[in-house]
Symmetry: C2
Subunit: 545 residues, 2 copies
């Protein structure tokens, strides 16, 4: 038996697009001699469809696609994820299901039992968990269908769920397992996937075909990396990261095992490629072409400019250099040099006159008050407004350039440098931004070396340095990582050796700046805990604030 | 037996504050002769604690409060909601539980079984559902403890869950039911509560004591309205809305029934009071005092100014009048008159010079382009920036004045009139804003009549009217309500008699503007479907967009 895996880039709610993609892949798979072609979880709707699932009309559209795919499944079975209505009045109205379609019919439906409801996942919001588990027979083979999370309760010491769905099918002696996934990227996730699949084949002793999505949906990035695993725990094949792919496998070959094609992975390279795809898909799926951003001469905007240029092409990235009286000469020169290096259009806009016009208007109201954060924010907001004006006039989307460290502690101006339609590096800590820059420069100098070596500064008052307000990023980033990604509290952090006063200060900064993040653009997610939909905090909360 | 119900205003994560409030109430209840005092769901942590629940340190703090409350429960039992650790490695790590504390001990813990995970609720994100249900005996009475949603699966035709937890206790013959709730306000919710409680007493035949929170937590408003229901389905008492309250009831009296104290409710009065409390608590819980907003002379900012003045006092509300060359004389006069009526400080700031300074800087880049939405947005953003500058300089929080109709269709400028720390009327449709204004004027003219009668206009270009870009609000609001609150799709809307082209246009406007709402301030929730955490839509989604 031959099984084709189709790792595709879907578009949420774009039923025709998704269907045509799958029809094309099914035809190719058939030409490759496949008996079955497998697509991802909720491939019909795209993942995550979120509250669109609450619209009856949306579900009807999905059902129509299933009918058409079933009709097209001639000479090849199509296995595909889509919502399925719950016929009972009790419980949620939908299941998250894998459909097995063949020659105009739905031969089998397996609902998902384990509904991830943590981090960016909200599945119990929409779906009823399965309580029936049946192996299906096709062309003499017994197939266990499973959906994503259903294989993830195996191989960990503090399992989130009280059952393992495949345990319920084990007694029905499946010959192999198909898993339809939509498992978002984070820089450690590909490694975790292999770990979990190994745990599964070791428990069930049969080959596994794990099909993931590729492509990004707003902030959520799918890296692909679909896996065929032999019963001996070897990775028979791992599909490429960040690319669509269709490959057909012979079940007998997979069952033999002994071949290991697990890819090597480099954290920073993965993040780089994820962000490039994240930008490209955000624009592509919104039907937009070009980006704009402010180039300050600092590391953050430099890295974002390069990512944007790699995602959209030089002709589709435009930058503004917006010096003020506090900008240093090297800032403008460094920015200009970078723009030359990556061959993008840049314009110089001086903000001092606009700043003075605000000062004049505000003067009678500000009598007797000193220059302070207000005036710093004004400068950042003038820049934000100029970028938005260009964006409105020419239809290019403003990319936000805030990094995760500053977003975490609120070192940024709402409606100023925090503006933008998409936050590109809001899930990348400052020290990782440097690593990204060095990675970009690995073959030749793309980002001018001076940008990499000078001390970070917002340049909003004379001789300002980030280190005036913040602890050194080497330490700050570690505390933030432990607090945000690892959910370590103040006592645990002190136990790790961080200074108590510093820990209290940093945690307080994180918590009291929740209001700023609440108004931030979606952040491309590359870590296991990204600001936005995956991290939900009360704004008026008083804990550690 | 005497039962005290304490309807209190908690603060998320402010353990000491919540504990002291409860200790004080317990002492008062004891003085009133109560045998038991009942607090709300997760009263120890405040509701919803959201991802703070993922921090071990946070749970430890909560456990400490439970210990102290138990120690203080001398001569009176304390029934209180708090998280409880799940001792088993399988499943989520916490339960959402009702603790029965007496004389230093925890006599009983009942976990919650039905975990609301829809709209603003994310409980399955954190909690394992209960699977044990036991009635507790105290002073000769058999008591069924339940937490919020556990009573909501009764009395509806399409129940969300497959079990009713109290069915499991029915055989244990409880004498009465305590329900610890944190059930957010919407203008129809108090009515629904009474309906559900009636269904419960009709099913179980015993008195019910339903204790709710009061007060707001960022966007979520708790209205109180705790209910004592007699077995005959009469509302023995309904506690006040939007106020803390502590009352003690004699179980025998409640059991007799025959008394109905259900309050009358007026939708607009409820919304008014909810918004006033929403503003007051947002400021109070953040430790802030004063607000600023722009007064345009239109109805939206007028209503928000009055709400703010009623919440914070005249001395804590300041407004800017920011006319441009496109502003009509009546706008300034109406705004000024309103400021006088409610006795708040106002300042006049002209934006034309600042606008010109932007034009001058942008001119070389805008050569050959006509005046368009860019220049309209610029004006809105200059106003937003001036308000933020005042906010930064004087520490007053900018209130956003966008209404739900314009937020829905994206008729507003990101970082301009969409700026602000809290959206006050973002869940109030334009026609409802008028009703609110008329309600405010019921005793005397607070909002100048001219504001109520003139045609709505953004005044960003000559002779602009909202009706140039939008359908009449009478029709727009109906379509929006059916689409947003009632989840009706395009076909259902057309069936209702709305023009098909108009329906397509409006739904498209709603969907393509998701990116704007994603960056909006939290919106005080007064309807059953408010933008923000309760409505989760993909930005790059292509459905109806």
């Amino acid at each position: 038996m031959k099984i084709a895996m189709a790792q595709l880039n879907y578009h949420i709610g774009h039923f025709e697009h998704n269907m045509n993609k799958m029809l094309e892949a099914a035809a190719k798979a058939k030409a490759q001699g496949a008996d079955i072609v497998v697509f991802g979880e909720l491939a019909v709707t795209g993942y995550p469809p979120r509250d669109f699932l609450e619209f009856d009309d949306f579900i009807q559209q999905s059902e129509l696609v299933i009918q058409k795919l079933a009709a097209a499944a001639q000479g090849i079975a199509i296995v595909v994820g889509a919502p399925c209505r719950n016929p009972k009045p009790e419980g949620k109205d939908l299941y998250n299901s894998a459909y097995f379609l063949y020659e105009g019919k739905t031969l089998h439906i397996q609902h998902k039992a384990l509904l991830p409801t943590y981090d960016v996942f909200d599945e119990y919001r929409y779906f009823e968990p399965a309580n029936e588990f049946k192996v299906l027979e096709f062309k003499g083979k017994r197939i266990a269908l499973s959906v994503c999370e259903d294989i993830w309760n195996v191989g960990n010491e503090n399992p989130l769920y009280t059952i393992c769905p495949l345990d319920e099918m084990k007694g029905q002696n499946p010959d192999f397992i198909l898993n339809l996934s939509a498992s978002p990227f984070s820089y450690e996730h590909a490694k975790n996937r292999v770990h979990v699949l190994k745990a599964n084949v070791s428990r069930y002793g049969v080959p596994m075909f794990y099909v993931n999505h590729v492509g990004s949906q707003t902030e959520i990035i799918f890296d692909g990396g679909s896996i065929v695993m032999s019963p001996d725990g070897n990775v028979f094949d791992e599909m490429p990261y960040f690319q669509e792919s269709l490959r057909t496998y012979d079940l007998d070959e997979v069952s033999k095992g002994g071949i290991n094609k697990e890819q090597t992975r480099n954290k920073i390279a993965l993040i780089h490629d994820a962000l490039v795809m994240g930008i490209r898909d955000y624009f592509g799926k919104l039907g937009l072409k070009s980006a704009i951003l402010g180039l300050s001469g600092g590391i953050d905007s430099a890295v974002v400019a390069v990512l944007a240029q790699r995602a959209l092409g030089s002709e589709n990235v435009r930058v503004l250099l917006m010096p003020s009286q506090f900008s240093s000469d090297h800032s403008i020169n460094d920015a200009r040099k970078l723009a030359h290096n990556i061959n993008i259009q840049y314009d110089l806009v001086f903000i001092e006159d606009i700043f003075k016009s605000y000062e004049a208007v505000l003067k009678p109201h500000f009598v007797g008050t000193p220059f302070n954060i207000t005036e710093e924010n004004l400068q950042a907001r003038i820049r934000g407004m100029l970028l938005m004006a260009m964006s409105n006039k020419f239809g290019n989307i403003l990319l936000n350039t805030s990094n995760k460290s500053e977003v975490a502690v609120g070192y940024g101006t709402l409606y100023g440098d925090m503006a933008g339609g998409l936050s590109v590096i809001g899930d990348v800590y400052k020290m990782e931004v440097y690593e990204l820059a060095r990675y970009m420069n690995k073959d030749s100098e793309v980002i001018p070396e001076n940008i990499l070596v000078k001390a970070p500064s917002a340049e909003l008052r004379p001789d300002q340095k980030d280190s005036d307000s913040l602890p050194p990023y080497e330490i700050l980033d570690q505390i933030l990582y432990q607090y945000i990604e690892k959910r370590q509290g103040p006592r645990e952090l002190v136990k790790m050796g961080f200074d108590e006063a510093l820990v209290r200060k940093v945690l307080r900064m994180v918590n009291i700046n929740e209001f700023k993040r609440a108004q931030m653009a979606p952040v491309l997610r590359v870590s296991s805990k990204c600001f936005g939909m995956g991290r939900r905090m009360p704004i008026v909360g008083k804990y550690l604030g």
